[in-house]
């Protein structure tokens, strides 16, 4: 037994903030002081509050230290670990109450409304030690399934829980498994989609980095349910920490006989392999993903036949997302009713969101379905920084749409998001404030899909390109109002005629911004003006003559010599020469330069 545990975040966010060095320094000091029998230092997965990384937490006090540097380690050991005095200056300020006492982490705004199911072990266990996963009830669900339940029982529990696919489309997981079970085949496959490609989404990555065994256990459960003995995890090569921890986890599970032959002394055999994705966004689409595992170029194919009938190598296959799997062991252990008690009528359970963009608490949050956007953005996320006004939130990445400020009280679930023209997607949530131009946002996502379209079908390959060009016309100020209608028409054409989900959803960012922010599009077209001051071609920097003191600072800093004027006289910007870099505005001490 240890008297104290020091957990250091080893997720991607904190690692890039040098948390490994902090961890090593802690371990070094603990050994030096001879405290290694009393104090345990562990590296865990993501705590969620990535904005404040590197993060560490010291138990049993529950002291949550944020933005810890290597130089702070000695103070933490000397004060907290040896003398028992918490280092208040490093505490996350939300955890310090007004009277100076420490609040429990779960009472802070960021954590209070969260309910961690898929992320339950992230930031709690060491993902590279299977024993720690087992200490937190790991592999108990698999044991229960293999020794006490029939495959049909398993599917019934998953169906009754109401779990729906967390990858975006929200297909009921139990039904998917039932189709695969009912399919006849000498060989069946279980696949995991860890090809998380949406810009701004990192929840699957964090689960794999923080709790890889949960996914492995769930895949074994799924294999038992449908009668499979081989699984594949398709993970992006761009996630090195996730790949490394998965590899370690699979190795450890094999050593303990939790993967392999005769698991738990039954006649159930199952093994897993990792397949690395080479970075194509389209490989997140299920048929393209399977084509890629087979060793072919990752291109989608028409459905039906659905994978449950004819999937990987032509055999019945189920493919679920990382987060979907992460929920499964808990559902088996705690029961379908427990899971179904969370969330809304048609969307049960919780959902992980990756908060990004113009928001205070950038990070990973897990909330019950039906939580409103307002709660996520203001209560958990802490609102937009610098007192800016919230304008819209983008969900679902390049397949989703924007939710404008007036719909902020919409409870989030699959059906509500579709009804307001967005979609759940994998759970990336990008917050935008008044400084974001909605046309520019739509253009950003379109540019992404143009790049990532695999080129197999014409509607997607050429349609998205043409749509992108039309958006460029809008941001350049050369479009007409007629173009806006044409754009909308093209959007529907692409949606209806594309082969796979990528093309069918690619126009969503354009459609939703056109719907909710048509006035911004019209301002670009009619007034040749970008209301948010983002689109460079429509931007003009001007000197306010009254405020200009003639200090010449702007002229000296202008990289293209576009500013002229004599000392102590108001200066002038030549719009012909100006490249709109904004340096002058940044440098001016009198606020005399404005965007017009």
């Amino acid at each position: 037994m240890f008297r104290s545990h020091i957990l250091v975040c080893g997720g991607t966010g904190c690692t890039s903030g040098n948390s490994i060095k902090v961890y090593e320094a802690l371990v070094h000091r603990i050994y030096k002081e001879g405290l290694d029998k009393e104090v345990h230092v562990t590296q865990t997965g993501c705590f969620g509050l990535c904005a404040l990384g590197p993060i560490m937490i010291v138990y049993p006090e529950g002291a949550f230290y944020s933005q810890v540097k290597v130089e702070d380690v000695d103070e933490i050991i000397d004060e907290h670990i040896i003398k028992g005095r918490i280092v208040t200056r490093l505490l996350y300020k939300e955890t310090v109450a007004e009277d100076g006492s420490i609040k429990a982490l779960n009472d802070t705004n960021f954590y209070k409304k969260q309910h961690r199911v898929a992320l339950r072990n992230c930031g709690v266990i060491n993902p590279e030690k299977i024993e720690e996963y087992i200490a937190y009830d790991g592999y108990e669900a698999l044991g229960k399934v293999l020794t006490e339940m029939t495959p049909q029982d398993v599917i019934d529990v998953i169906s009754r829980s109401g779990l729906r696919g967390r990858g975006g489309a929200g297909f009921p997981t139990g039904r998917k498994w039932q189709f695969a079970k009912n399919s006849v085949g000498d060989k069946k496959y279980v696949c995991c989609n860890a090809d998380e490609g949406d810009p701004g989404a990192f929840m699957d990555r964090s689960i794999l980095e923080g709790d890889p065994h949960a996914v492995i256990e769930a895949m074994a459960i799924a294999a038992y349910a449908i009668g499979s003995d081989q699984g594949y995890i398709y993970v992006r090569a761009e996630y090195p920490i996730a790949v490394q921890r998965l590899t370690i986890a699979i190795q450890q599970a094999r050593e303990y006989g939790l993967l392999g032959k005769n698991i738990f002394g039954t006649d159930f055999n199952f093994d897993l392999d990792i397949r690395l994705g080479a970075g194509a966004f389209v490989c997140g689409e299920e048929t393209a993903l399977m084509t890629s595992i087979e060793g072919h170029r990752g291109e989608p194919r028409p459905r039906p036949p659905f994978p449950a009938v004819k999937g990987l190598f032509g055999k019945p296959t189920i493919l679920n997302n990382v987060e979907t799997y992460a929920n499964v062991p808990q559902i088996i252990l705690k029961g379908a009713d427990w899971f179904a008690s969370m969330g809304t009528e048609k969307s049960r359970g919780t959902k992980v969101f990756a908060l990004g963009g113009k928001i205070h608490n950038t990070g990973l949050v897990e909330i019950p379905m039906g939580t409103t956007m307002r709660e996520i953005i203001y209560d958990i996320g802490g609102g937009c920084p610098n007192g800016k006004k919230f304008k819209a939130a983008q969900t679902g990445g390049p397949s989703g749409g924007c939710i404008p400020a007036h719909l902020i009280d919409t409870p989030i679930d699959y059906d509500n998001l579709i009804a307001i023209g967005s979609m759940m997607g994998s759970g990336g949530l990008i917050v935008m404030d008044e400084d974001n131009c909605m046309v520019d946002i739509a253009k950003f996502f379109l540019e992404f899909t143009v790049d990532e379209s695999c080129g197999k079908c014409t509607a997607c390959r050429i349609g998205t390109k043409r749509l992108y060009e039309m958006l460029c016309k809008v941001t350049d100020g050369t479009a007409t109002l007629e173009d806006l209608d044409k754009m909308e028409e093209l959007c529907y054409y692409i949606k209806e005629n594309s082969l796979c989900g990528l093309g069918q959803t690619a126009p969503n960012p354009v459609l939703s911004t056109l719907h909710y922010f048509r006035d911004e599009y019209e301002a670009h077209v009619r007034d040749k003006r970008c209301p948010a001051g983002v689109c460079k071609k429509l931007l003009r920097y001007q000197v306010v003559a009254d405020k200009c003191k003639g200090c010449t600072l702007c002229a000296r800093n202008c990289p293209v010599g576009a500013i002229t004027g004599t000392v102590k006289e108001p200066h002038v910007i030549d719009p012909e020469k100006c490249i709109k870099c904004g340096v002058c505005m940044e440098k001016c001490r009198f606020g005399a330069i404005i965007k017009a």
Binding site: M1, E132, G143
Partner: protein, 121 residues
């Protein structure tokens, strides 16, 4: 892994490694050892080690053992405070042997070791 029993045995063993990895709940027994200069000088460290060792050996999972600063009665150190069911029990002049008895008698069996309590000394 050949059976569910084997998994459970491993889990029981591993739990002692992850005990104390949370803020103590209201149903937990909290034990604090005074470990300021006075406590350490009087021999608090062997007391703490004994508490941890005994609790680990007995697979006690609802106990949180940690250190605290100076409790104020330096002449009575090493001091061990046990918080249970809203009550505080202050044991004084502790040794490693006495600490092991507190775990067995008080924490496991629920009988307060009255002879070590501060009022008796």
């Amino acid at each position: 892994m050949k059976s569910l029993e084997e998994l459970r045995a491993l889990r029981e063993k591993m739990k002692s490694q992850t005990d104390n990895r949370s803020v103590a709940g209201s149903d937990e027994t909290v034990i604090k050892v005074g470990m300021a200069t006075c406590g350490i000088a009087a021999g608090a460290r062997p007391v703490l080690d004994a508490l941890l060792d005994e609790a680990g050996k007995r697979h006690l999972h609802n106990v949180s053992i940690s250190q605290t600063g100076c409790i104020g009665m330096c002449r009575l150190e090493p001091i061990v405070e046990v918080f249970r069911d809203g009550q505080k029990y202050t044991y004084v002049h502790m040794t490693a042997e006495k600490a092991r008895r507190v775990i067995v008698e008080h924490v496991v069996n629920g009988n307060v070791c009255a002879e070590y309590l501060v009022g008796e000394n």
